[in-house]
């Protein structure tokens, strides 16, 4: 199937265009957070104004009341979406929090893809003992609920950090939740890709490549990997959406982004204490999270349809705690039915 045709089909899908636009707008807004903070809100994400007063429509308002209730949305440049209990600008923190959430999700997604592809190619191509070892390792990770595993790793590493040998990640580093999320999602992608690799290995064009004397590495990279591209493309927004959700869940539980750095999850956690008096503290990050995750999911579905319009619906769906483990129809071991013909 031609990539250009797939792109054309994708652009003709109205829901995909809207979802893509929403996601792009969120990403753009978050990237522009320093501009908004500096030129419009005139404050930073950690700067507190707890004992200050602001003027809204000619009225003097306390940023945080003496009983600790922060002001709600002012719909002006300063405190557009209100303040948090420490008198920090919610809109500014929302954008900076989005940067953190999206950065973690993006790094985690890339990490998952890289690890999953390596595992799938090695296990699917070589088979035998290596396949058994890698598959059992994937089973081991799979056997733990994703959120539980993430919390366990997050809480353990939040204080002491982790020494990777070539680098040390400190407790408060954003790379730490990215690493955790990236690792825990590897089986969800590696297993179907491995099944696809096994199926591709039996194809005639692979036999032909072997007979031409190509090495295993060249076949994997030059023949099999391009045939996995469609699946990887479909998985990418799905993984992104799930990584955002998991990051928020971990941060909500104190095992993800560490204070004072904002993330949508930590903002929701901080807001729950003041429900319902300051509902904007939960609504603002909650709606942002919803918009990002829904748009990424819609985009993923549209991408799948565009890449393989004949395929059945993928049985890999995002859930609150991770990806649905159901195997797609017509695929072995959870492999999505997106195998194309020989790579061009």
């Amino acid at each position: 199937m031609g990539q250009r045709g797939a792109l054309r089909r994708l652009l003709h899908e109205r829901s995909a265009v809207i979802a893509g636009a929403v996601l792009a707008a969120i990403v753009l807004a978050c990237l522009l957070a320093p501009v908004y903070a500096g030129d419009i809100a005139h404050t930073g994400p950690d700067a507190n104004h707890i004992t200050e007063k602001i003027t809204v429509s000619g009225k003097r308002l306390e940023v945080v009341s003496p009983t600790g209730v922060p002001t709600g949305p002012t719909w002006t440049g300063r405190f557009l979406l209100g303040a948090d209990p420490n008198g920090r600008d919610v809109a500014v923190r929302l954008l900076y929090g989005g940067r953190n959430s999206l950065e973690i999700a993006a790094i985690a997604t890339v990490l998952t893809i890289v690890l999953a592809v390596v595992v799938a190619l090695l296990a699917g191509w070589f088979g035998g003992l290596l396949d058994t070892l890698l598959s059992r390792a994937m089973d081991l990770i799979w056997s733990y609920p994703v959120l539980l595993l993430g919390v366990a790793l997050g809480v353990t590493l939040a204080v002491s950090g982790i020494d990777l040998g070539f680098a040390t990640l400190r407790g408060g580093s954003l790379l730490l939740p990215a690493l955790i999320i990236g690792v825990v999602y590897v089986p969800y992608m590696a297993r179907p890709l491995r099944a696809q690799t096994i199926e591709l290995r039996r194809r005639e064009f692979i036999d032909a490549a072997r007979q031409q004397g190509l090495s295993g590495l060249r076949i994997m990279l030059g023949e099999i990997l391009p045939n996995l591209a469609s699946s990887i493309l479909v998985f990418t927004p799905l993984l992104l959406a799930n990584a955002i959700l998991l990051e928020s869940g971990l941060s909500f539980l104190g095992a993800g982004v560490q204070a004072p750095a904002p993330s949508w999850g930590t903002m929701i956690a901080e807001g729950t204490r003041l429900m319902p008096e300051a509902i904007h503290l939960v609504l603002a990050p909650g709606l942002m999270l919803l918009a990002a995750v829904v748009s990424a999911n819609v985009l993923a579905e549209a991408a799948r349809d565009a890449l393989d319009p004949r395929s059945q619906r993928l049985q890999v769906r995002p859930t609150a705690g991770g990806l649905d483990r159901g195997a797609p129809e017509g695929a072995q071991d959870g492999a999505p039915a997106l195998i194309e013909g020989q790579a061009a």
Partner: protein
């Protein structure tokens, strides 16, 4: 005791676990009881950890048991500092203290009986102390470390406590201490030292507490849910001065949602709000608007502060510590605590003898801090730009306290980052010297109203590798020697050393070993039925149920 909320949470969990073992409410089993009117209903956020006096330690427990299990001494039933005064309860008078403060002798009042009618004997005192030790009362170290022979008894090396001798015929009680210990009278005033019959089994009796001598009798315990305190029918005849005779029985209901708790009291479905929980902001507004004649904010003997580790940079510099003191915006912490914090700079709270009335070294405690001046001080100290890790527990509002403090450190020239961890592991973590926590949040609720109980938070002579209370690792010979000297002054004689205790408090503050943000306050909210003015708020145990009167 650290982290009252932690303790309450633990208590709630403990009681929840106990539900499984609950029968349909073990009654007090303490004979006939009577109720004049009522009962008055108290809604509590969490159930006591135990209603057995020799087991319970949480504020929910002691609030309930201090008027049921009187010991030789108790606290005056009065508001404010007057309520911290130790008065004789079952003892005929204050003890005679001899041998350099190591020998206490007193006599039991005549004609005392337990709520079940059993006559009280002097040896019941020994039995209560032994039972507290055998049941591993959480604060038993106050007994084992100070009463001669108590440690040997605890370790099973002795069959009785050699330092306590009693005479049932005369009611004489003599206690020998290992060394002079001024707060020992406070120790004797713990409900855990409350007398119980010597026939009481040495096993925890949370659901069927033993009889005691006191205005109330505990009955109808539904673990984790409710219990009653009925008026002890034998109390009035005992005529112990200074301890009121209650006019109403108390029904305590556990209602974990503070909003619902407040609603019940504001709508007069319940009579007293649990002081251990702050009112939710909505309820505060409602209470101020609709119930201002039955709502007030009362002081609690607790101090909230940030410790500054004096053994590592940058806070090994006095100038750096003073810069923090200067920059503190205490008004911000009041807001973060939903208004339930009285700003202050001294380690000893206002209602405790030893509280200083001098001006704070960093400026007016209600002020918003002077960041510019503090920044200048940091520059001059040569510590600008240094990294500081601020530790704190992850529960609210402490997490927000840490955010605020870290941001303040950034503003005055440091590079602050945060380590916010689970409240259950927080104190053990920062109490390890090896953690080398540079700065962090701490709150301390009194064990008893005595200045040395607070001063020991900067006692360099008490530093130990684990479970260390001097988080700042302050080593100051003046503080250590003054704590030792004041620690020998009997609690009944504290008024004679006020000036000395205040000088120590000032010294601690002027060296900024800790950056005190203030003292927790608690809500006093009653229904319309209650005589609000008559209800005493004890600085030790909270609302004094013996003074609760229905109109």
């Amino acid at each position: 005791m650290f982290g009252r909320t932690q303790r309450l949470a633990i208590a709630a969990l403990g009681c929840a676990a106990a539900i499984g073992l609950a029968a349909c409410g073990g009654s007090g089993g303490t004979g006939k009881t009577s109720s004049a009117v009522g009962p008055a209903t108290v809604v509590a956020a969490s159930a006591p950890d135990s209603l057995d006096p020799q087991v319970g330690v949480t504020t929910s427990s002691t609030e309930a048991t201090w008027n049921v299990y009187l010991g030789l001494y108790t606290y005056a039933h009065a508001n404010g500092t007057a309520g911290t005064k130790v008065i004789p309860a079952l003892a005929a008078g204050l003890p005679r203290i001899t041998d350099g403060g190591t020998f206490y002798s007193t006599t039991l009042r005549k004609g005392l009986v337990f709520s079940d009618g059993t006559p009280v004997k002097a040896s019941d005192f020994t039995y209560a102390i032994e039972r507290a030790i055998k049941l591993n009362w959480e604060n038993k170290s106050f007994l084992t470390e100070h009463i001669a022979g108590a440690e040997a008894y605890d370790q099973g090396k002795a069959s009785s406590i050699s330092g306590i001798s009693t005479d049932d015929a005369t009611g004489a009680i003599q206690i020998k201490l290992t060394a002079p210990y001024g707060p020992f009278l406070n120790v004797l005033a713990f409900p855990a030292a409350g007398l119980i019959p010597s026939t009481t089994p040495i096993k925890a009796l949370p659901n069927d507490p033993p009889p005691g001598v006191g205005p109330y009798v505990i009955a109808h315990v539904l673990p984790g849910r409710s219990f009653e305190e009925q008026i002890n029918p034998r109390w009035a005849a005992q005529a112990i001065p200074g301890i009121p005779t209650p006019s109403v029985a108390i029904q305590v209901k556990v209602q974990s949602n503070p909003g619902s708790q407040a609603d019940e009291v504001l709508s007069n479905s319940a009579d007293l709000f649990d002081w251990n929980t702050p009112l939710p902001p909505t309820s505060v507004r409602q209470a101020k608007q609709e119930a201002s004649d039955r709502y007030s904010v009362e002081p609690v003997a607790q101090v909230s502060f940030f410790f500054l580790n004096t053994s590592v940079a940058p806070f090994n510099s006095l100038s750096a510590r003073m810069a923090v003191e200067t920059a503190l915006n205490r008004a911000a912490y009041v807001r973060l605590a939903s208004g339930y914090l009285r700003p202050g700079c001294y380690l000893v709270p206002p209602q405790i003898i030893g509280y200083s009335h001098s001006s704070c070294p960093g400026g007016e405690p209600t002020g918003e801090g002077d960041i510019a001046k503090a920044k200048q001080m940091v520059r001059e100290s040569g510590t600008a730009g240094q990294p500081v890790t601020v530790w704190g527990p992850s529960d609210s509002p402490h997490r927000e306290f840490v955010d605020n403090f870290a941001q303040m450190l950034d503003a005055i020239g440091y590079k602050a980052n945060e380590r916010v961890i689970s409240p259950s592991t927080y104190y053990p973590t920062v109490a390890k010297v090896a953690t080398k926590a540079q700065a962090g949040f701490a709150e301390y609720t009194q064990d008893f109203p005595n200045p040395v109980d607070f001063d020991q938070l900067v006692d360099g002579s008490s530093i130990q590798p684990e479970a260390n209370h001097d988080f700042s690792l302050a080593r100051d010979s003046y503080i250590d020697s003054e704590i030792e000297a004041l620690g020998k002054v009997p609690a009944s004689q504290l008024p004679s050393v006020v000036a000395r205790a205040e000088a120590l408090t000032d010294h601690i503050s002027h060296n900024a070993y800790v950056a005190v943000i203030g003292y927790q306050e608690a809500p006093k909210l009653t229904s319309d039925r209650v005589d609000f003015g008559a209800l005493v708020f004890s600085p030790v145990y909270g609302p004094d149920w013996t003074t609760l009167k229905l109109k």
